[in-house]
Symmetry: C2
Amino acid sequence: MVKDTRTRLVETAADLVQDRGYHGLAVAELLTLSDAPRGSLYFHFPEGKDQLIATVTREGVEAVTDSLRATLSAEKTPGRAIRKILEAAASALEASDFRFGSPTAPLVLDGLQAGSEIAALTGEAYTGWVGLFDTALTSAGVPAKRAQSLALIVEASFEGLLIICRAHRDAGPMRVGARELEGIVDAAVAAAPRGRRKTS
Amino acid sequence: MVKDTRTRLVETAADLVQDRGYHGLAVAELLTLSDAPRGSLYFHFPEGKDQLIATVTREGVEAVTDSLRATLSAEKTPGRAIRKILEAAASALEASDFRFGSPTAPLVLDGLQAGSEIAALTGEAYTGWVGLFDTALTSAGVPAKRAQSLALIVEASFEGLLIICRAHRDAGPMRVGARELEGIVDAAVAAAPRGRRKTS
DNA sequence: ATCCTGCTAGACCGATTGGTATATTTCGAC
DNA sequence: GTCGAAATATACCAATCGGTCTAGCAGGAT
């Protein structure tokens, strides 16, 4: 059972973007890796590379969002959820020979035109992800202002740890960071005024 | 007074790498922006683009290291130093129209060959930077293990915040993160066993 | 003056870039 | 079976990629 051409294009493009970013994705190589003819790319994505990458980014961001949301609501405390999320990322890094990474970060660092669709998508992605952590922290009783800035640090650390682990080809830092963030978040929750915790 | 060609090449290349990474730096554009003839590039950097970028990265990493070290030793507490560092980055982001960034992160996310010189440089850079924060925290009395993981989170947050701010074209998150990290670090220092603080 | 060295200048190269054009195949509706 | 749309397959394109090559300039040493 072979997936259809469009799907193959999107999935290979997602891998390539994570690994190399916008400028590093060569259309010819994409076609080879996804075993798709040139004609099919421009049939499914008439506007070419940019449209393909925008689609890939949209889907990638959504997948991350779903995954974060699932783990945040499945775990008892935000600290534990965050640790689980980072530990899962550590495993994904190892399983992918350190090609796994954020769907957005490589694009942000590729100097795309500020107004472009892809650039807009990356901005929205971070707003959404920080928002998820924020909500989880607030629900656990952390005061609004602290929840906001702590959520930002969690997301930023996650993104930064992905880079550091890639640079070292070692998922160790991600696991260390997972524990540290869990501790920080647990402390913030513990310091929260009693009786303010909302049920999820 | 015009700087010499080699200097112009390195400085323009540094800007371009920060903004667009390895694949996004086009030699022809670099030559135009630095107003240098093609021959000069290959005279000063016989191995071409890779050698140029390796040089640029080495110098960029060193500059960051010096800057971090200076601020860490100039400020009274590590928390305050970290806040200052991030606030300076926030200003740099705004002053550069959000082209300012890490000299290494774009390269890590450009899928370079694992054994290449450039890849090695990025790994060493993170080891060095995390080490600086680690030393500062340890000197302030934070126990070794905690100092290590906290230093890692500080560096990762910094790198992540640079990305988030670029994505939003807004240095706000960097300033918010600066305050949050200061709080986290101050708390860790305050919790340190008394009498263990070393003088810098 | 001449020679050498450090550097500049730019023509030129094959390979690859993203994209277009058109012919052909596939496949469901009827 | 026949028709038409959906999709595939490739040949082709100008532009740009990073890199090579050689000719010449500038300026100090002798």
